[in-house]
């Protein structure tokens, strides 16, 4: 079967390192000369947190629910486990991400420099779990594509693979042999470069809590929540489709793409409707979680029942 894929990112579209470095100097210079509001540097976890146009006009899920009801199997199987077990256990400093594979400039991201060097923007996204519950979450982060470009992926970089920290002392769930640890996820390169894909470092304007994947996690709002890998330590550009934890665990139930799709049920339960946390009853699930206008073209010509 012929699958039409969008053209790979042209080398000319990738911002050269020198350009963004000079951009940063400009911003740093502006701050030094007092051209940015003085109070901004003191406010919250993210001075200069920029409100973005990426937002949905739906009621936010409460901060308490966002931070106390989620899956992070490294800290237990129940949705109350991450908030009970992750804080105090997960050490988020020092923290680096190794970036390598098919790229011209492999390197490391240090989380503190990352926070200093990037404009952090707030985006309000829908979040749809494969278990048929959903939330609306104000994330703080940096577009993934912007970050990836700096490492200059080459033309063999067809996919991007992500890995979570492997540390059973900090993450007791990794002692269970039920899963193939560490947690792994992946995106096709065009998905990773899509402006909606976000590397989140905070939520509700605050530093990302340990239980939500501190210090840095992926958010891909048109896919089921488990694609949003947490506490990332490694990013690799790969020529072939990377293996992912849930796909290894149950390949019939969790495909590589895992785009939110009300028309394709999980083999054991329905995906047609969802329970929005904080609401009563169920609301219909939207194709691509309501982001079809932005992302459907990534999959044109693909049979989404086959590539679920």
């Amino acid at each position: 079967m012929l699958i039409r894929r969008p053209d790979p990112i042209k080398p000319s579209e990738i911002t050269p390192r020198s350009a963004y470095l000079s951009r940063r100097q400009l911003i740093a210079g502006a701050a030094a000369w007092g051209m940015l509001p003085a109070g901004a540097a003191l406010a919250g976890a993210f001075p200069n947190l920029r409100k973005s146009d990426y937002k949905v006009d739906e009621a936010l899920t409460s901060q308490k629910d966002v931070t106390h009801y989620n899956n992070f199997y490294e800290f237990g199987l129940d949705k109350e486990d991450p908030s009970a077990n992750a804080p105090g256990r997960l050490k988020t400093r020092p923290w680096t991400i190794e970036v390598g594979g098919e790229c011209a400039k492999p390197g490391t991201i240090d989380i503190d420099s990352f926070l200093k060097d990037n404009t952090i923007e707030e985006r309000i996204y829908r979040h749809r779990c494969v278990e048929a519950w959903s939330m609306v979450i104000p994330w703080a982060g940096v577009p993934l594509g912007e970050v990836l470009k700096r490492f200059e992926p080459n033309s063999n970089a067809k996919y991007v693979a992500f890995e979570t920290l492997m540390n059973p002392a900090q993450m007791p769930g990794q002692r269970s042999g039920e899963f193939t640890w560490p947690y792994r996820e992946g995106l096709r390169i065009d998905e990773a470069m899509h402006p909606l894909a976000l590397l989140a470092v905070g939520l509700y304007g605050e530093t990302l809590p340990e239980q939500n994947g501190a210090p840095i996690r992926l958010v891909v709002p048109w896919k089921y929540g488990f694609k949003g890998i947490k506490s990332i330590v490694r990013i690799t550009f790969t020529p072939t489709q990377p293996r992912t934890l849930w796909n290894i665990y149950a390949p019939r139930e969790y495909g590589f793409y895992s785009n939110v799709n009300p028309a394709v049920d999980h083999p054991r339960w329905s995906q047609a409707k969802e329970h929005r946390i904080g609401e009563f009853g169920r609301r219909p699930t939207l194709p691509f979680n309501g982001y079809a206008d932005q992302v459907a073209s990534l999959y044109s010509g693909m049979d989404l029942k086959q590539y679920f």
Binding site: K64, D65, H68, Y69, Y73, L77, K79, E80, V130, E131, W133, E178, F179, Y249, D265, R268, W269, S270, A272, K273, H275, I277, G278, F280, G281, R282
Partner: protein, 187 residues
């Protein structure tokens, strides 16, 4: 003693009511209530299945009178569990419930378990035993041997991961059924 067993069986229900009243069921109270009642239905039904083997092997004949009580309490939690699904989760969306019973095997198994239990609860009175005759009544009530493993299967098929706990329930239920068979062979 009978009062004590009733109280013990009512305790989870009181606990659930307390949590609900204090809004302590977490971010997804409907799911929490459904899971909680399902857990206790299965646990108490397994206890009911344990009565006969304990009587046979441990010679605790005094236990016999608790079998019906435990069975009915287990069924009561199963009713709550089903009501939670039909009313709170699905809000009487019968079309969708029907679709789920056919399409999703964990719902099929759960509904089948409930369908098997309901006539047992309905015929649990002394009057019904007399009217049906001991033999027919006993034959009917062997349906519980199928209903409890089906309920455990419903749980195994429901979980996304973490199959150990539901599999433990299944193992205990099967052991209790096996012990009946062993006992029958030895006689």
């Amino acid at each position: 003693m009978r009062l004590l067993v009733h109280l013990l069986c009512a305790l989870p229900l009181l606990w659930l009511g307390g949590l609900a009243a204090l809004d302590r069921l977490g971010a997804n109270p409907v799911e929490a209530a459904i899971r909680f009642s399902g857990d206790w239905a299965l646990r108490i039904l397994i206890l009911a299945l344990a009565v006969t083997p304990l009587r046979q092997f441990a010679k605790l004949s005094v236990l016999a009178s608790y079998r019906r009580m435990l069975g009915l309490w287990g069924f009561a939690y199963a009713v709550l569990h089903l009501l939670g699904y039909v009313v709170l989760d699905q809000f009487f969306d019968w079309a969708n419930i029907g679709h789920e019973i056919i399409k999703h095997k964990f719902i099929t198994a759960g509904m089948a378990a409930f369908a098997l239990l309901a006539p047992l609860a309905a015929t649990s009175t002394q009057g019904m035993i007399k009217r049906m005759g001991g033999q027919a009544w006993r034959r009917l009530h062997r349906a519980v041997y199928l209903a409890v493993p089906l309920a455990a299967l419903h749980y195994i098929w429901m979980v996304k991961a973490g199959w150990k706990q539901p599999a433990t329930y299944m193992a205990i239920a099967l052991l209790l059924l096996l012990s009946r068979w062993v006992y029958a062979l030895r006689r």
